[in-house]
Subunit: 461 residues, 2 copies
């Protein structure tokens, strides 16, 4: 595939590599070493013989082998020539992290860079971008050190972002919540590779289960919508559009110069093409996590099982506010719940397992709700800190519930202590998405409902 | 004031104190010692001579002095007699943490406990509650250890909660975000002291700047609304109502047996009485933090200053979605901004200080927006991790901006590293509320707008 060169290169030239730890060209080389890039690394810098223990070349031309990919971290006006030299050395792709192009009014320079790219048929990501972070293929061109952008573990969600600063914040948030990432691409001024190309590529990427895209405006509307349509046949595509309001749209024009077009039209076209559209930064992280592990919802009826009464009520409110039905159990199911639980437990929807709850009760109650056929999803609130909820056993039985219930399951739980937080992270890694507030769990479920509707629409054709 | 006995007792009997670290009566005594309660502690237990180094009494009767407050941690059926004995020893207040009353159908026992309270004129918080946490007065009857509920530092927001499990989660979240608490009261089955009493008390409490109440249903609607009306003349009252939807209302009835009444009528009565009504758990924590340090908004025009373009756009979207006006600057202000900032900075609303930003630019730009008279609040997005944003200087200059601008100011920033997180916590403690997502900062500002409208309504009378 066309963009493989960015993720699976055998050799990379880092043009503008630097001995100075403060410089972008140093951080990138250092990160590529630290992440364990399995191919060859060729630092290029006329004033260094060796950087970080790796032989350095005074020009691209001097590199003894052919190169697949160039990462260019030079002053803007030096990038067209650097790209040309890289192309002559065989590079099929280049990531230009340098800023100083159209974003500050330097349209001419950007055009010049584009000309080189076209002439030599080099695909270019950037300029003015963070580039690529891909922990599985071991590529990291983010030019900010780990102290500034903590990198997440490998995962199943790929993110593309038009905003670098938002992208770095997203990585931080994902890392903080113990979540993972498959591929992350910050594409900046999208001289060449645009959101349409990236979605097309990720649609075919087996390591990407969900595509999440932060978009301000698109380069080519038709191509973008086609890419979403094609990708959403294979996997969920989640879109957060910056500039959804009239003031936001004005800000987009000033920020990127993108012609976003009428935001409401854009949003409905994106939805029509098969994307799950989200509205907040939290949702942009939370919804993909649910989509990566849970089946889509086939209907809108949710059963809530809690061991904290107040939490159960807030969960029910947030579900109903998002259009779900939190229907009471049939009398048959009520009878079954009453038989299996102590008489003082408030059963129904929600069912409150109280402070006397055990993980076994979560499992049995969850299975009873599932087997009734009366619900389309389970919403669990397993609060730790009561004697019966021993973390290890709780983890095991909640995962058993997820595996035995064929329904989508999400959970809300509060990481009270570092130990509980680690348990919750493990539970999530094992396949049950967990959110810190009732509203965030409900929004994640909403993503599963919307993707279910999209799947049914697609299958209907 | 009537409820002072719960917060400023000179002596406390802990009836049901235990040597067993697993028991509630042990945890409470331990926490009262650890928090440094300045008065006398009298553990009561017939089978212990000493617990945690403190002399233990075999019955309340044997305590040599008069007691002010009793904390009762006994089996439910033993509580009426224990309350009577405490009353005879002079107790004017009792916190009954024991469960096993009306919440599991034991209405008779609860009535019996109430009779004793009425006969002896003892005020009772509980039963079936966590009781009181008051880090300034050094009271802590939360019967779960610090490993289960991490306690927050002293602060300016007081919380009352009808749900104990939600209450403990709130404390955890507040602690996790580095925020503080003035008084926390979980009042359980509200045998005697109810939400109206508590709001009345906190209205007069100088250590409480903001009252936040999680309510499912109220004991006495008229008294509750009167308390809000009275309190909101003095300080903001923030209400989160559990059971806002029809399914949520059904869950409330099953959880607490409260007659919540029609939720929409309740909500509008609460608003009419002067409360700021919030809709999510995050808002319940975020809005009070803003109200505790920022003046109310006098109008709905917000200026956004960012150093991350994408964040600025999401901020603008979330503001406009909440009804704010993110109006462009006048040509005069535009001119001033252009004069003071580098030519390639996108100025306007938002103004993007880009990756080249410095804290000085945040200060100067913020003052320019303020002095223009064109805005009612500042919304800052200071992202760290770019070279110019040195944490210590940033902290100093942002606080200078808050102090020199008379406008309300809120901020959105991402805690990238533990160091940045600590800096952000310090900035917030010094008076600038900071939120991790654009939407949460916008919701906090919305609280300031609503409280401004409430103040104007009150002053108009």
């Amino acid at each position: 595939m066309g963009l493989d060169i960015f993720f699976k290169p055998k050799s990379i030239a880092i043009i503008g590599a630097s001995r100075n730890p403060e410089r972008v060209g140093h951080v990138i080389l250092k990160r590529m070493i630290e992440i364990g890039f399995p191919g060859k690394l060729y630092p290029v810098n006329p004033r260094a013989e060796e950087i970080l223990g790796i032989k350095c070349y005074s020009s691209t031309d001097e590199i003894p082998d052919q190169i697949d990919l160039a990462v260019i971290a030079l002053r803007a006006d030096m990038t067209p020539q650097a790209l040309e030299e890289a192309a002559k050395k065989g590079a099929k792709g280049a990531i230009v992290v340098s800023g100083g192009f159209s974003e500050i009014g330097n349209e001419d320079l950007e055009r010049k860079l584009l000309e080189v790219a076209r002439n030599y048929k080099v695909r270019v990501i950037g300029p003015n971008c963070l580039g690529v972070f891909d922990p599985k293929d071991r590529i990291d061109t983010l030019f900010l050190p780990e102290e500034v952008i903590p990198r997440p573990r490998p995962g199943e969600v790929s993110i593309i972002t038009q905003s670098g600063s938002l992208g770095s914040a997203l990585l931080t948030m994902i890392r903080k919540e113990g979540r993972g990432i498959s591929k992350f691409i910050s594409y900046g001024n999208r001289l060449d590779v645009d959101e349409g190309d990236l979605i097309n590529y990720l649609a075919d990427d087996d390591e990407t289960k969900v595509i999440a895209a932060y978009i301000e405006g698109v380069a080519n509307g038709r191509k973008f919508m086609d890419a979403i349509r094609r990708a959403s046949m294979k996997k969920p595509v989640v879109i957060l559009k910056g500039g959804r309001t009239s003031s936001g749209d004005r800000a987009v024009k000033s920020h990127t110069g993108s012609l976003a077009g009428r935001s409401d039209i854009f949003q409905s076209a994106v939805k029509q093409s098969g994307a799950v559209v989200v509205d907040t930064l939290d949702e942009f992280i939370d919804v993909p996590v649910a989509l990566a592990t849970q089946p889509p919802m086939r209907g809108d009826r949710v059963a809530v099982i809690t061991n904290g009464g107040g939490f159960g009520i807030l969960a029910v409110d947030s579900l109903e506010q998002r259009g779900f039905r939190v229907t009471p159990p049939s009398s048959k199911l009520m009878e079954r719940l009453r038989e299996m639980l102590p008489p003082y437990y408030p059963v129904g929807n929600p069912t409150d397992l109280t402070g006397d709850s055990t993980p076994e009760q979560f499992l049995e109650t969850g299975l009873a709700f599932t087997e009734s056929g009366e619900y389309d999803a389970l919403y669990l609130i397993p609060l730790f800190g009561v004697p019966g909820m021993e973390p290890e056993r709780t983890k095991r039985l909640l995962i058993e519930l997820v595996n035995r219930s064929k329904l989508p399951v999400v959970a809300c739980a509060v990481p009270t202590t570092p130990e509980v937080e680690e348990t919750l992270n493990e539970i999530e890694r094992m396949g049950l998405p967990i959110y810190p507030t009732p509203e965030r769990a409900a929004s994640a479920l909403k993503g599963l409902l919307e993707y279910g509707e999209i799947r049914r629409r697609i299958e209907h054709f």
